[in-house]
Amino acid sequence: MRQEAGSILIVDDELSVRDSLEQWFRMDGYRTGGAADANQALELLQAGQWDIVLLDIKMPGIDGMELQRRLRKIDPDLIVIMITAYASVETAVQALKEGAFDYITKPIDPDELSHIVRRASEQRRLRSENVRLKEKVEQLSTPSQIVGESQQMAEVLELVRSVAMTDATVLIRGESGTGKELIAQAIHANSQRRYFPIVPVNCGALPESLLESELFGHEKGAFTGAQYRRKGKLEMANGGTLFLDEVGTIHLKTQVDLLRVLETKEFTRLGGSRPTQVEFRVVAATNQNLEKLVEQGSFREDLYFRLNVFTISIPPLRERREDIPLLAQHFLEDYSLQMNRAFSDFHPKAMDLLVRYGWPGNVRELANAVERALVVGKPPTVHAQDLPLQLSESTAIGVGESLADVERAHVEQILDRTGWNITRAAEILKIDRATLYNKIKKYGLQHR
């Protein structure tokens, strides 16, 4: 399997350096080019597209510093990595100020080189992705991914619209799977911060020590394994929105640090000595009862008040059943497209099951059920037997109370599940085929 790599131009007056580096990167699948001086480099850059330029600072004629300026005029997005001898580290720092991505000292440590170039390629990829995404932001600014026509959802969306334009901290509450992250994204996409990132932090997924480094970042050598300086999520969210998911699970010590950051908008990286200024909006989400956690002493009251400025509660799916057909159809269309399967609708019986089910896992569970149905079912219609078993075996709401009602529902369910294969259904029901035919006749069941 060959790696998809980019292109690297190496500018150095020493032939052996160019050869070594070109050889090294060719093995990684990069397209490489070498230039012995500034003129050759400018020619090569004008003739073709390069992702990364490795540039020796000290060269006869136009030096690396000046060349960097000229290269930037031709391609402002170019990633430049300076190569320097120990003696000229100060110049390298100056180059960084002028926009170089990083610098590397001669002789180059292979490990450091791979690390820097990998980061540079990633940045190049992110930059071009960012341009595409910016174009997409406008069209995503309407919370189109949030589907629902119920009164409850209309109220939620109204709240989203009204709070988005303010800069207030928002606490989103709702059971697991109700779509809290989507609401957070909708708030961000409708706010003035939409051109900056929304950075999600899943507080529940990380142990305490990792959450700290995840939030605050760390300096090189701050702890075992911290080989490089790493930006934390707070820094990444600068200008945008920090989305703290499962905020109720944060450890007390980290709560103190987080509260301080929210109040001062200033923090220090792990192992660092200087504070960093940040500016972001906070949107938090929880499926826990924060008031109860405050009472039990596992959530700080002051943090609770800081987060609970504006609350949006998302109702569970079972309380807005009228949205189920709409949501199911939305997922059906979405997944059909993704899986390239030509599904168009639900059989009335399948839809009936979906609407009657209790959905403890909320919208996420519904999405999963539809996805599964599209995998096992046959286009263009989703049938009841395509839906997960627990749906059809759940104590269906609305079935009559009498023994005959239950028997009718059960026989019908087994017939549907077996695709009306009478022999198989009779086997499951542990009755003979004649008895099954009698029951079908008795209850007037029909294969739809």
């Binding site: 399997m1 060959r2 790696q3 052996s16 001669k106 002789p107």
Partner: protein, 178 residues
């Protein structure tokens, strides 16, 4: 392909390790392996200021073979290698070419303050030899973590990958060697 030549360079106890390596490489590349004495003075590749041997210079010496009769050549070196501008290399190879070189020096656990381990040393040598020869057969670094062509910049990465080519790299080697 007309065989693979292993050339020991500054290699103490050369027969034991080279014989084992030869058998393993014969199995991997389905070719005959011969062990040959060097026909050049490797000392010319020594860089006094760095105290290391220049891998690119060694490649040139290996290529300059008066008795060349086809096939690939792998120099197995006991000393530390560098490529100009890089502080060290485990090995170097001509992409889609004839010559490659691999160093045992940084594969030894003792270099990292650990106890000597012959089995580990041989496994690492086999992986790096297969890797460098893979380049000679036109293979680039592979994204498959278990493939022997996965890039390794430090020794622990060598230990993570297997000594085998992934399916796709295997196919390329077979078709090139064919």
């Amino acid at each position: 392909m007309s065989g693979l030549h292993l050339v020991p360079i500054y290699l103490a106890d050369r027969h034991r390790i080279l014989d084992r390596l030869g058998v393993a490489l014969e199995r991997t590349f389905l070719t005959t392996v011969r062990i040959r004495k060097p026909w050049f003075d490797p000392e010319v590749s020594f860089d006094k200021s760095r105290g290391q041997y220049n891998s690119s210079a060694l490649l040139k010496l290996l290529l300059d073979d008066p008795a060349y009769s086809g096939g690939k050549v792998l120099g197995v070196v006991g000393v530390d290698l560098f490529a100009p501008v890089l502080t060290y290399v485990f090995g170097e190879a001509q992409l889609d070419g004839r010559a490659s070189v691999v160093s045992l020096h940084r594969l030894r656990p003792e270099v990292y303050g650990l106890t000597a381990d012959d089995h580990l040393l041989f496994t690492r040598l086999l992986k790096e030899s297969t890797h460098e020869l893979g380049h000679c057969f036109g293979l680039l670094h592979c994204a498959e973590p278990a493939c022997v062509m996965h890039a390794s910049t430090y020794v622990e990465e060598i230990d993570v990958k297997s000594e085998w080519f992934c399916k796709s790299c295997q196919t390329t080697v077979r078709s090139t060697a064919g």
